[in-house]
């Protein structure tokens, strides 16, 4: 609109100087009005866009190394029964309803094979929550590998653009049923503690090895892909602790599923190995 008005004004004021002042008044008034209108529109538009980008995604991302039990969790949540699974070759995306509420949630299960694991970045912008699923029964053996996976996830989480509200992050110590409960702690607590200590130790190792190291440049100019991973900064005295991680709160859950069984009916949900995880999902 603006160019037309000014053009008009120009047309007017060139031949007749009398109308000049009048035209000037009109144009300045309209200009003011138009600019006001524009400002309001802009502001509304900006807020709308901002709100859209700020609104949380709608997906739950299941990530983690191969063999952690991601697909089993997905099958339990979606089909209400735990089917047998093998290593996934492609991403599964299913939607679930969360029973008490009317909310529904999309679950994205990204394969953990190191060659395709990086696909989880694609789903990050739409993530409402990210769950890192770990096999609690083998964590002591695979600590370093799991930590590498986790490191990449943390790196992506912490380097998300500010326009996106950070997704909730949880570490799920899966296959708790493989651990024996001791007198002082249940199997779930045991699993959580074990996973937490192993991962903290391994991540701290990674952090110290990267600190002060000179990386090798990656071929073809800049780009942070793969070479220098950050994301392990802590507010505390430097040692890596999940509680002090800068990227936000990290929740821990101990879960388990039994292969081949249907999930018990709604009323006895408490017995389900995924109960704490479900509650967390509801709170999102």
């Amino acid at each position: 609109m603006d160019p037309i008005i000014t053009e008009e004004a120009v047309n007017h004021n060139v031949p007749t100087p009398e109308i000049l002042s009048q035209a000037k008044v009109i144009s300045s008034q309209t200009l003011l009005l138009v600019s006001l209108l524009l400002a309001v529109l802009l502001a509304v538009g900006f807020f709308a866009v901002r709100k859209r980008s700020q609104s949380k995604g709608s997906s739950l991302l299941l990530v983690g190394p191969s063999g952690g039990g991601k697909t089993a969790i997905l099958s339990t949540l979606v089909y209400k029964r735990t089917l047998r699974t093998h290593s996934s070759m492609q991403t599964n995306m299913a939607s679930i309803a969360l029973p008490p509420s009317t909310k529904s949630l999309r679950i994205v299960d990204v394969p953990g094979h190191p060659r395709i694991f990086d696909q989880f970045r694609e789903y990050m912008p739409d993530a409402k929550a990210v769950a890192f699923v770990v096999d609690a029964s083998t964590i002591s053996r695979n600590g370093a590998v799991v930590a590498e996976h986790l490191h990449r996830v943390l790196h992506v989480l912490i380097s998300l653009p500010p326009s996106q509200s950070p997704p909730a992050f949880a570490i799920v110590a899966h296959k708790c049923d493989a651990l024996k409960a001791s007198a002082s702690a249940t199997a779930e607590q045991l699993a959580i503690n074990r996973v937490r200590t192993v991962l903290e130790r391994e991540l701290d190792k990674r952090r110290t090895s990267h600190a002060g190291g000179v990386g090798v440049e990656s071929l073809g100019g800049e780009g942070d892909e793969g070479t220098d991973l950050g994301g392990l900064e802590c507010t505390g005295n430097g040692e890596f602790r999940f509680a002090e991680w800068e990227g936000g709160e990290v929740s821990f859950f101990g879960t388990s599923v039994a292969v081949g069984k249907a999930v018990p009916a709604e009323d006895e949900k408490g017995k389900d190995g995924l109960a704490p995880f479900r509650e967390w999902l509801l709170e999102l």
Partner: protein
């Protein structure tokens, strides 16, 4: 015979599976199961063009249904030569898809949800009672499997008849005296095997005994089956026997999960056919029963098609389902004429076929080869991609070639993405710190550089050395190239340069003595020098030992043996293969032979553990422009990551590979 069979979705959900032996049952749920290994090591790595995968004594075969994203996998003992597995897979595929098509479509759709809204409805509408849905599949599977097994046994038998002439005495010594009356027992791997062996031996023995009278037997059977026009030669046994076999299996419909017992076998064992006196009446009865069969026409030519067999052999309810399914399939195929094809093109739901892909496939192979990918690898990668595309639907605006290109791109990315950590610094630090508290002396981290002549082992070793020094590590270079003149001097110059250049993060004062050379002149045993170098490094508190070896051609066995000796005596933490980016088809051969030699000799030398190549360094990268196919060839052959890329003449010209760049370069025109 089979060990494990499963039908599953690409996403990892197993729709149906069965293990035939307790051992397979046990491993089925663990991560080391044949199916898991197959997916991890073959399918995800883009090796799906090969049609057989072997692991832990299992042979695994598989087939895809791409539009429903299903994988059919059969695993069996590798020593068994099961000829019918391919047929079985095809039959299972056809039947399963036709029977469960609607359910499978909803199932696959439920795993491809893009937005949350409408899917809740789908979810509630379908009940996901997998066990109930696949209930009847169990029986169908049994029927198909049994049919094929019988057929295979038949073929083997007829083949055996012409070829095998074993002395009877030898068999008698093998045969346990009570083999004839083995107690029927429950299922179990070992018992099954024993029975199998006993049965085979018995069959052979019987046949040898009856060798004198084969013609008589054939004639007798001929008389019974008088309706047919077969000749009284030994060849005519085949169809007749198949018939008798068939009627037996019909009687045995209750075969469940358990392995066949002795009594089952006895009834299936048609080797008694040739035994004259006691079995004769039963034999005749069998054959007369056969003549009455309505399915006579189908089997006349002695060749069973799976489907045909299915028609005749399944029980009432399942056979009706089957015939229905198969007829429907045929009708659909015939009606899918030109018109529907055009329509499909217009609506963009065109399904890719092998023929559609063929021209694109050829073009892509050529393109890859132009990019310096080894021919063998180009073939395999392209075929793997086309395998995964056949049966898929393409969008309306997507041409076949662009679909192919897209699939190829993701396949290349998967192949090139490292599956193990390439973070050398981290593993060095981890090793150094893990040894520190336990003992006073810490074990240095050792890296061996191997490769053919003139690819730049020493040069890139010095680049790696520079990088390590920059990271504040003390490096000892072991000059184990005791063959080429000037090799030691070359390293000495590098060390001199590096110790002058080497300014770590701790400042220049510290840099003295950061790099040292361990040399013992020429003509000595390289393995010994490496060993001394490592112990020298341990005593003098070095962090890393870089072992430079003499270049050697992969075909030179004595030298390869010497290299393997060096590796097995010193057990370095990393073995890096240095290869030049200029190499074409040769890359495959080089890497295969180096890897093979290292593995063979290291496992033979008694350390027990096989050691192969752990990673690669691709050198002379700056000379090839975008013809970077060597990187693909190398990673495909070994499955190991490219740790560094050497791309220039100075110490800083060491880079890490970026997968996306390489993929882009390979695909660019």
């Amino acid at each position: 015979m089979l060990d494990h069979c499963s039908i599953s979705h690409r996403g990892g959900i197993v729709l149906w599976s069965r293990s035939f032996t307790p051992a397979a049952e046990q491993t089925a749920s663990s991560s080391s199961s044949p199916v898991n290994s197959l997916i991890r090591d073959a399918l995800i790595e883009g090796r799906n063009a090969e049609n057989k995968y072997e692991k832990d004594g299992y042979a695994v075969k598989w087939t895809f249904v791409n539009n429903l994203e299903l994988i059919f996998v059969v695993a069996y003992q590798r020593i068994l030569q099961l000829t019918y597995v391919d047929e079985l897979l095809e039959a299972l595929k056809a039947l399963f898809v036709q029977l469960f098509q609607p359910f499978l479509s909803t199932f696959v759709a439920s795993l491809h949800v893009s937005s949350t809204g409408k899917v809740a409805a789908v979810n509630t509408a379908t009940t996901w009672d997998f066990t109930k849905i696949f209930e009847k599949w169990d029986r169908l599977f049994d029927d198909v499997l049994r049919g094929l097994e019988n057929k295979a046994a038949q073929e083997r038998k007829s083949r055996l008849k012409h070829t095998s002439i074993h002395p009877e005495t030898a068999i008698d010594t093998i045969l346990p005296s009570d083999a004839d009356d083995v107690v029927p027992s429950d299922s179990g791997a070992t018992t099954v095997d024993e029975e199998q062996i006993a049965r085979n031996v018995q069959a052979l023995k019987n046949r040898l005994k009856a060798r004198g009278r084969p013609i008589a037997g054939g004639r007798r059977r001929l008389e019974a089956g008088s309706g047919r026009d077969s000749l009284p030669t030994s060849d005519s046994d085949t169809p007749t026997k198949q018939k008798s076999k068939k009627s037996k299996t019909k009687a045995q419909r209750k075969w469940g999960d358990e392995a066949p017992t002795e009594s089952d076998m006895a009834s299936l064992d048609f080797s008694y056919v040739d035994v004259p006196s006691p079995n004769t009446p039963a034999k005749v009865a069998d054959v007369t029963a056969l003549v009455d069969q309505s399915s006579l026409g189908i089997v006349k030519d002695g060749i069973y098609e799976v489907k045909d067999w299915e028609f005749a052999s399944t029980s009432e309810s399942s056979s009706s389902v089957l015939t229905q399914a198969l007829h429907k399939g045929k009708e659909e195929k015939s009606s899918a004429g030109l018109l529907s094809n055009v329509f499909a093109r217009l609506t963009g739901s065109k399904v890719l076929t092998q023929d559609d892909l063929k021209p694109v496939l050829e073009g892509m192979k050529q393109h890859l080869m132009k990019k310096n990918v080894a021919k063998e690898i180009a073939d395999k990668v392209c075929e793997g991609v086309s395998e995964s595309l056949v049966g898929k639907k393409v969008g309306s605006f997507q041409s076949t070639s662009s679909a192919f290109r897209q699939a190829l791109s993701s396949s290349l990315t998967q192949i090139l993405t490292p599956k193990t950590s390439t973070d050398l610094l981290l593993s060095i630090r981890t090793k150094l710190s893990s040894h520190f508290p336990s003992s006073q002396q810490r074990e240095p981290y050792s890296i061996t550089f191997v490769g053919v002549n003139g690819v730049g082992k020493s040069t890139n070793l010095s680049k790696v050395c520079f990088w390590l020094v920059q990271n504040g590590l003390r490096v000892l270079i072991a000059a184990c190239d005791t063959f080429r003149s000037g090799a030691v001097e070359q390293l000495r110059v590098h060390v001199r340069n590096l110790s002058m250049l080497g300014v770590g993060p701790n400042g220049a004062t510290d840099s003295k003595g950061r790099v040292e050379l361990y040399e013992k002149g020429y003509g000595k045993d390289a393995a010994g020098i490496a060993k001394e170098a490592i112990s020298f490094a341990r005593d003098n508190d070095f962090d890393v030992v870089l072992i430079d070896t003499a270049g050697r051609m992969q075909d030179n066995e004595p030298l390869m043996r010497a290299l393997a000796k060096l590796v097995s005596t010193n057990n370095p933490d990393k073995i890096l293969f240095v290869g030049e980016a200029l190499v074409g088809n040769e890359a495959v051969d080089q890497l295969k032979k180096f890897d093979r030699a290292l593995r063979d000799f290291s496992s033979a030398s008694g350390t027990g553990k096989e050691r192969g190549i752990d990673g690669m360094i691709v050198t002379k990268w700056d000379t090839v422009d975008d013809k970077v196919g060597a990187a693909l060839s190398m990673t495909y052959v070994t499955g190991q990551p490219i740790v560094f890329v050497g791309c220039g003449q100075t110490y800083t010209d060491l880079r890490q590979l970026r997968v996306s760049n390489v993929v882009q370069a390979i695909l660019s025109d």
